[in-house]
C-alpha cells in the first residue's frame, strides 16, 4: 500500500500547512484522529473527503485551533504553518485565526448589518477608520462575488439575505481579515445547486491568492474544484494525491469503494 502521506515537496516554500504525527482525542481518551501526516500546498485547493464522522472537521479545526474551545480535548503531534509550530506556547490565537480563516458548514452571519459583519474582524483588531473599513468591505464583498447584490443595502441586516448570500457573506467576512489560508467546512452542503455553483466559482478565483482547504461530502465538488484530495476513513488519512489521480486511479481499495459509492 503506497500512501503518499508526505508527497515530495517541489520546494520548501510550497507547503502552507505541515501536519506531523497528529492524533486527536475528545474527552481525553476518545480518539478521533490517528497519526495524520500531510502537507497542504500553497495557493492550491485541497479537498478532504470521507464518510461522515471520519474526522475531517476535527482535523480542519486543528488548523486554526478552534478545538481549543471544546473542553477535555487533547492533541499529539505538530502542525506547522509556514514553518512555525502553531501549538507552540505563546502563540496568540487571535493572530493565528486572522491568518487562518474559517467558513462553517451553516452560514452564521451575526445579527448586525452587512457592513458590520464584514468589518467585524478588522474592527476587533482596532481598525476604526471608516474610509479604510469601507474599502475593506467593498474589496471583500467583490472577492466573494456579493458586492453587486448588496452594495445598496450595506446598512441592512445580514439576516435578510438568502442562504447562499449569507454563506458568501461569511466568506467575505473571512476575506476581510486578509488571511493566508481559508478553511471551509462543507460550505455548500446546506445550499441549493445554483448557490453551490456560485461558491465553487468563487473558490476558483480565490485560489489565485489563498491556500484553501475544503471539506466536502460532494465528490463531484471535490473533483471539480480541488487540486489535491485527501481521503479519510475512521480517523485515518488513507490516501492523499492530486485530485485527478484519486478519482481515476485510487491506490487504496477503500477510496475506490467510497468514490464508486459502495459505502459512505
Amino acid at each position: 500500500m503506497d500512501i503518499p502521506m508526505t508527497a515530495p515537496m517541489d520546494a520548501a516554500g510550497d507547503v502552507a500547512v505541515h501536519v506531523r504525527k497528529l492524533s486527536f482525542y475528545y474527552n481525553q481518551s476518545q480518539q478521533a484522529l490517528y497519526d495524520i501526516n500531510m502537507d497542504i500546498r500553497r495557493q492550491k485547493v485541497t479537498a478532504f473527503i470521507g464518510p461522515s464522522g471520519c474526522g475531517k472537521s476535527t482535523l480542519l479545526r486543528c488548523f486554526n485551533r478552534m478545538n481549543d474551545v471544546i473542553l477535555n480535548t487533547r492533541m499529539e503531534g505538530d502542525i506547522l504553518i509556514n514553518g512555525s509550530d502553531i501549538y507552540k506556547e505563546g502563540v496568540r490565537l487571535e493572530a493565528l485565526r486572522k491568518r487562518v480563516g474559517m467558513v462553517f458548514q451553516r452560514s452564521n452571519p451575526f445579527p448586525m448589518s452587512i457592513f458590520d459583519n464584514i468589518a467585524f474582524g478588522p474592527r476587533m483588531r482596532g481598525m476604526k477608520d471608516k474610509a479604510v473599513l469601507g474599502e475593506i468591505v467593498e474589496r471583500s464583498l467583490k472577492q466573494a462575488d456579493l458586492w453587486k447584490e448588496v452594495k445598496d443595502r450595506l446598512g441592512k441586516s445580514a439576516l435578510d439575505l438568502s442562504g447562499g448570500q449569507q454563506q458568501r457573506l461569511c466568506i467575505a467576512r473571512t476575506l476581510a481579515n486578509d488571511p493566508e489560508i481559508i478553511l471551509m467546512d462543507e460550505p455548500a452542503s446546506a445550499l441549493d445547486p445554483i448557490s453551490t455553483a456560485k461558491i465553487e466559482e468563487t473558490i476558483q478565483v480565490l485560489k489565485e491568492q489563498y491556500t484553501i482547504v475544503i471539506v466536502t461530502h460532494n465528490l463531484q465538488q471535490a473533483a471539480r474544484c480541488s487540486d489535491y484530495t485527501a481521503f479519510f476513513y475512521m480517523g485515518k488519512l488513507l490516501e492523499m494525491n492530486v485530485t485527478g489521480r484519486i478519482f481515476q486511479k485510487p491506490s487504496v481499495k477503500d477510496t475506490e469503494d467510497y468514490i464508486t459509492g459502495k459505502f459512505g
Binding site: M66, V69, E94, L96, R106, F110, M124, T174
Partner: protein, 547 residues
C-alpha cells in the same frame, strides 16, 4: 383488534377530560384576573365622580345631607339602610353616617347643596350663604355670587403663593445672620463656654451680629412688612355656610380650596370636574393624613426607586451571570452558586429588608456618615433609611431573577455565532461583548421585566429601609446636589397599606385604597410595557438568534 383501536382513539386516549380540565383552569385564572381588576377599577374609578347630594329629612325632624355611598340590608331585619357621606367632620366628628331608610320622611336633591373642599377636616356640605369681610357682608348668595367666590378663592391661593415667596426672601436675606447665630450658640453652649477667650470671641461675634443686622435692615424688614399686609388681606374674608340641620358655620375663606354644586352640574361639567380631580390625584401632594389630595410623591418615589434598582441591579446580575456562564469552571462550586442564586428568590422579602437595614444602612451608611458627615453626627445622613438603600435592597431581592434570565439568554446564543466571532480572530471578551451579550439582550430584558414587576409590588422590605408615609421633599429637586439619594421617600404600595390600615378615618380612606391600587397596577403595566417594547425591538434585530 377493533377494540384495541378504539382504545387508542377513544375518550381517554385523546385526553378529552384533561383538555377540559386545563381549559377550565385557564378560565378560572381569567375570571380571577378580570374580577380583581374589575373590583379595583369599579371601586376606585368612581371615587372622583361628583355624586348627587341627597338631603333626607328624618321622621325625628333632623336632616342629613350628602352623597349616598351604599345601601344594604340591615342584618336580621326586613329593612335597608344607607351610608351617607355627611362631611363636616369638624362639626359632627365623623364624616359618614348610616341612616335607616325606614326612618326617612323625605329625600330631596336641593340644587344649591354645595361641597366645599377645605384644606383641613375634609369636605364641608351645606348651602353657601354669604361672604363676609371683617364682619360686614360683602356678597350674598345670588346670581353673580359663585363667579365672585371663585375669583376670591383664586385670589387667596395667589396670596398664599406671594407670602411663601416673601418668606423665602426673608430667609435668604437672613442667611448670614442665621450662620452667626449658630456660631454664637456654639460658643455659649460649647465645651469652652465660660472661659475668658470664649467671652471675648462672643463679644466680638455679638458686635458683628448687630452690625450685620443693621446693615441688612431693609432687606429683611421690607419683605416682612409685605408678608404682614398680605396676611391681613388673606385672613379678612370669611364664608358663611348653612348646614343641612340648620346650623350656620363661618370659616376663613383661606381654608377653602374649591367648591362645587353637584346637583346643578350637567354631564360635561361632571366629566370636567372628574378629569380635574384625577389630574390633582396624579400631580399633587397628599393631605389629611393621606386620605385626600394626590399621590404624586408616592408615584415619583415608586418609579425612581424601580429606576435606581434596575440601573444598579441589572448590570450586576448580568455581570454575575456572564461570569458564571462563560468563565467559571463548571463543577461542584458553580452548581452550588447556581443553587444558591435560585433559592435566593425564595427568601422572604422581609429578610432582605432586615439585611438591607443591617448591611446597607447601619454598616455602609453608618460608615459613610462617620467618614464624610462627621459634623452632622449624631444625626445620621446616610445611616438611616433612604431611597438609595431601599433600591439597593430591592436590587438584591430581584438580582436572582436577572441572573437566571441572563443565564438562559446566554445559553440560547447559538454556538455558531460564538465560533464565528472567535474564528474571525476576536478575543473571548470581544466575542462576549459584541456578539453574545447583544444576542442575549432579549433574555436579559425578560429578567428585568420580571424584576420590575416584583420590585414595584414589594412593601415589606421598604418599610425598614426608607419608606415613610409622608415626605416634604422629593429625592430630586432644584437644590444642590439635585439628586438626594439619602432622602426618605413615599411608595404607592406602602401608601395603600398606610391609607387603608393606618388611617384614622377608614371609611374616607377606602376609595383611596382602590384608586391607589389601580394606579399602582397601571404603573406596573406601564413599566413592563416599556421593557417589552424595547425587547420586541431587539428581537426584531436579532431575529436570527434562537430566542
Amino acid at each position: 383488534m377493533a377494540a384495541r383501536n378504539d382504545y387508542h382513539r377513544g375518550f381517554w386516549a385523546e385526553g378529552v377530560p384533561f383538555i377540559w380540565i386545563s381549559g377550565m383552569a385557564v378560565l378560572v385564572l381569567l375570571a380571577i384576573v378580570i374580577g380583581f381588576l374589575g373590583l379595583i377599577f369599579a371601586k376606585g374609578a368612581g371615587h372622583f365622580w361628583p355624586a348627587p347630594m341627597a338631603q333626607v329629612t328624618l321622621k325625628s325632624g333632623s336632616s342629613v345631607m350628602g352623597p349616598v355611598m351604599e345601601t344594604e340590608a340591615i342584618p336580621h331585619a326586613a329593612a335597608t339602610r344607607s351610608l351617607f357621606k355627611i362631611g363636616n367632620r369638624d362639626v359632627y366628628g365623623l364624616d359618614f353616617r348610616w341612616v335607616d331608610d325606614a326612618a326617612v320622611e323625605k329625600r330631596e336633591y336641593p340644587p344649591d347643596a354645595a361641597v366645599i373642599e377645605r384644606s383641613e377636616y375634609g369636605d364641608m356640605h351645606g348651602f353657601i350663604q354669604a361672604l363676609r369681610e371683617g364682619g360686614a357682608v360683602t356678597a350674598r348668595a345670588g346670581p353673580d355670587f359663585h363667579p365672585l367666590l371663585e375669583k376670591k378663592i383664586a385670589r387667596a391661593a395667589h396670596l398664599k403663593e406671594e407670602i411663601k415667596k416673601a418668606a423665602d426672601d426673608v430667609e435668604h436675606a437672613r442667611e448670614p445672620l442665621a450662620k452667626l447665630e449658630v456660631d454664637i450658640r456654639l460658643l455659649e453652649d460649647g465645651s469652652e463656654a465660660g472661659t475668658p477667650e470664649a467671652a471675648l470671641k462672643l463679644e466680638k461675634l455679638n458686635a458683628e451680629y448687630d452690625a450685620l443686622a443693621l446693615k441688612l435692615g431693609d432687606a429683611i424688614t421690607v419683605p416682612e412688612q409685605r408678608i404682614e399686609s398680605l396676611r391681613k388681606e388673606l385672613d379678612a374674608p370669611t364664608l358663611e355656610v348653612a348646614l343641612a340641620d340648620g346650623q350656620v358655620k363661618t370659616m376663613p375663606l383661606k381654608d377653602v380650596r374649591a367648591f362645587y354644586l353637584p346637583n346643578r352640574m350637567g354631564l360635561s361639567a361632571k366629566a370636567g370636574h372628574y378629569l380635574c380631580k384625577v389630574w390633582d390625584f396624579l400631580w399633587t401632594w397628599p393631605r389629611e393624613s393621606n386620605t385626600e389630595g394626590g399621590v404624586f410623591p408616592a408615584i415619583f418615589g415608586t418609579v425612581m426607586m424601580v429606576f435606581i434598582m434596575v440601573v444598579i441591579g441589572a448590570p450586576f446580575g448580568v455581570m454575575a451571570a456572564l461570569y458564571m456562564n462563560e468563565y467559571a469552571k463548571p463543577g461542584f462550586f458553580l452548581n452550588l452558586v447556581r443553587l444558591g442564586v435560585n433559592n435566593l428568590a425564595g427568601v422572604p422579602s422581609i429578610v432582605f429588608g432586615i439585611f438591607g437595614l443591617g448591611f446597607f444602612i447601619y454598616f455602609i451608611g453608618g460608615g459613610i456618615d462617620r467618614l464624610f458627615f462627621t459634623d452632622k453626627l449624631p444625626e445620621p445622613t446616610y445611616g438611616t433609611g433612604g431611597i438609595l438603600w431601599a433600591s439597593l435592597t430591592l436590587a438584591l431581592l430581584t438580582v436572582p431573577v436577572v441572573v437566571v434570565a441572563t443565564l438562559e439568554g446566554l445559553a440560547a446564543v447559538p454556538r455558531a455565532n460564538r465560533e464565528g466571532a472567535l474564528a474571525l480572530g476576536s478575543t473571548k471578551w470581544q466575542m462576549l461583548w459584541n456578539v453574545v451579550l447583544p444576542n442575549s439582550m432579549p433574555g436579559i430584558l425578560t429578567g428585568v421585566i420580571l424584576a420590575i414587576s416584583r420590585a414595584t409590588g414589594e412593601v415589606a422590605p421598604l418599610m425598614i429601609t426608607g419608606v415613610v408615609k409622608l415626605v416634604a421633599e422629593l429625592p430630586v429637586d432644584a437644590g444642590w446636589p439635585f439628586l438626594h439619594l439619602d432622602r426618605k421617600f413615599m411608595h404607592l404600595g406602602f401608601h395603600i397599606y398606610d391609607v387603608g390600615f393606618q388611617s384614622p378615618n377608614v371609611e374616607a380612606a377606602k376609595p383611596m385604597v382602590y384608586t391607589t391600587t389601580g394606579l399602582l397596577l397601571v404603573i406596573v403595566v406601564t413599566l413592563n410595557l416599556v421593557a417589552i417594547l424595547l425587547r420586541n425591538r431587539l428581537r426584531k434585530t436579532y431575529k436570527g438568534a434562537a430566542l
